[in-house]
């Protein structure tokens, strides 16, 4: 197993497509070969070493640590299928696009389409665990197929749109939540009443004992769901306009 560390050499204002940075692409390559690999920076090929300082070391488990102000670095942890990614800082769009497994921790905020689909693919993430310690932008968990996404703070608009299954947890959300949701679970600490009342996408709210939440044992998810355990919580089904059977659980609806 290998631990890779990529540190952004300097703040970058051009968009960087980091979707080729992966365990699979780095495996079997020497550190020099990895440094010479190219990524797109503002649609132009540049070597990874021009953008990141890269090191690697033996490790008990596969780890990828990326550090710096990564707000213009997009597609980090794309297609992740195993191992652990750790993003230290804010990251751009399409983080964990097409994720299939493994774990991702972001110590910061992320942009739009967290855990969304890869280009030309129908489904979004299909496995794994994402924990964003800050906020996420719009379209978080778009077309999610399986897995768990935990956002400690807010998600933007269109959270969980066209969700197929899986679980999205967040403190609160923006507009147009769960449009086109087929199945899956969204858990929000707060959901404004007007969001529910104004929308035809949701069922009438009802109260629900979500005993399945007791099964979350990892420290981060267990802490998030703790206020819901053993209590009747508010629940709506979505998206009614497409016959969806998803569910949204929420706490304070004031």
């Amino acid at each position: 197993m290998t631990a890779y560390r990529l540190e952004l050499r300097a703040p970058i204002s051009e968009p960087v497509d980091a979707s080729e940075i992966s365990f699979e692409n780095f495996a079997e390559r020497s550190i020099e070969q990895i440094r010479r690999m190219t990524i797109l920076v503002d649609q132009r090929q540049r070597s990874i070493a021009e953008v990141f300082e890269v090191t690697k070391a033996k490790s008990e488990k596969d780890r990828m640590v990326v550090e710096g102000d990564l707000r213009n670095v997009h597609g980090l942890a794309s297609r992740q299928s195993s191992g652990r990614w750790h993003i230290c800082g804010d990251a751009g769009d399409n983080v964990a696009a097409g994720m299939e497994g493994g774990e991702l921790l972001v110590e910061g905020n992320v942009g739009d389409f967290l855990g969304g689909p890869l280009p030309n693919r129908k489904a979004g993430m299909s496995g794994g665990m994402i924990h964003v310690m800050g906020s996420a932008g719009h379209y978080a968990a778009h077309r999610m197929r399986r897995g768990t996404v935990l956002v400690d703070e807010a998600i933007g608009s269109n959270g969980g749109t066209s969700m197929i299954a899986g679980t999205l947890m967040a403190l609160r959300c923006g507009q147009k939540l769960a449009a086109g949701m087929r199945r899956g679970t969204i858990i929000l600490r707060t959901l404004p009443r007007e969001t529910i009342e104004a929308s035809t996408h949701f069922s009438q709210p009802h109260r629900f004992l979500a005993d399945f939440l007791r099964l979350y044992k990892r420290e981060n998810t267990a802490r998030f769901v703790a206020p819901f355990i053993g209590k009747l919580v508010e629940r709506v089904r979505a998206d009614f306009t497409i016959g969806g059977q998803g569910e949204i659980l929420y706490g304070d609806s004031s």
Binding site: M129, T148, A165, G166, D211, F212, R214, L215, K217, E247
Partner: protein
């Protein structure tokens, strides 16, 4: 060998390969968990006609269960994997799914490739409204029911086990035999990975293979029936007036061996010289079952 004046016959118990699983039942409190566990493990004394040998292994505190609620672990044993799965699913559906507030989980899980269905089969009761949920690498089914949801793990691990470890206690009267047998069963119940599936853990109708009646595969163990002394060769002496048998199924040889040893020691120390006369064991000459529990070896260990 004697322990506290109790003769330990130099013989062995002959036991068989079986397929086994463990499931965990939880509920909002111990009352409902016990109701479900008792129902699920009822009519599960012998594979001869019950098709499954099943019993409560032990109670579980809230901290020991997957959902943090009180519960019980259940062990089940059958001759084949197909029988095991069929019986577990039937019992789960009729006795656990039906019981208020329960949930059902695998008690043998990680790293075990052979599986038996649990929620995999029961989910259809949800009539299309059931929800599959992957949580931390395990799959569960949430089945809508009138008190909320029945949460059931998708499947459970199936392993090789051993059935038919046994010992017979011979006493001067039924009072002593009963008290000794109850102590033996209570002792066995303290040990993990093993159950004694007969009523209260004890058999009064020990059997032998074969019968004068062609349709019966087993019949009364005549050489240990006190009322048949004098008719033919009996294994009972004049003073041996009651015999009871403990039968153990377990996940490992050591689990059964250890439980047998502790149970025999317990009853010898309590009832030796007070009416418990002899300990022996049942076998078929060693030709049928490949697991042999030699009493002297177990007790000397």
């Amino acid at each position: 060998m004697e322990i506290q004046s109790v003769i330990i016959d130099e013989t062995f118990a002959e036991a068989f390969d079986m397929k086994a699983t463990r499931v965990i039942i939880t509920a909002m409190d111990s009352h409902w968990a016990l109701q479900a566990a008792t129902a699920m493990s009822g009519f599960g004394t012998s594979v001869i006609d019950c098709k499954l040998e099943i019993d409560i292994e032990r109670p579980l505190d809230a901290g020991e269960t997957p959902d943090g609620r009180p519960g019980y672990s259940i062990l089940g044993f059958a001759m084949g994997g197909g029988d095991l799965e069929k019986q577990i699913i039937k019992r789960a559906g009729q006795c656990v799914l039906t019981c208020p507030t329960t949930a059902l989980f695998a008690g043998l899980d990680d790293g075990i490739s052979k599986r038996i269905g649990l929620g995999k089969a029961l989910r259809f009761f949800g009539d299309g409204h059931q929800i599959s949920k992957w949580i931390e690498g395990k799959r569960y089914w949430r089945i809508p029911v009138m008190d909320g949801e029945f949460i059931c793990q998708h499947d459970a691990g199936r392993v090789d086990g051993i059935g038919g470890g046994n010992f017979l206690l011979v006493a001067k009267n039924i009072q002593i035999a009963s008290e000794a047998a109850r102590l033996a069963a209570e002792t066995i119940a303290q040990y993990p990975d093993v159950i004694a599936p007969f009523p209260g853990g004890v058999v009064r109708s020990g059997s032998k293979v074969g019968s004068k009646y062609a349709s019966l595969i087993a019949s009364t163990n005549d050489s240990y029936c006190p009322s048949l002394r004098g008719l033919f060769n009996s294994n009972l002496e004049y003073q041996d007036n009651a015999v009871l048998e403990l039968v153990l199924d377990g996940l490992t040889f050591d689990a059964i061996s250890n439980a047998m040893k502790e149970a025999i020691l317990a009853i010898c120390h309590r009832f030796g010289g007070k009416g418990l006369l002899r300990i022996t064991a049942g076998n078929y000459g060693g030709k049928l079952g490949r697991h042999h529990f030699h009493l002297h070896e177990i007790l000397a260990s």
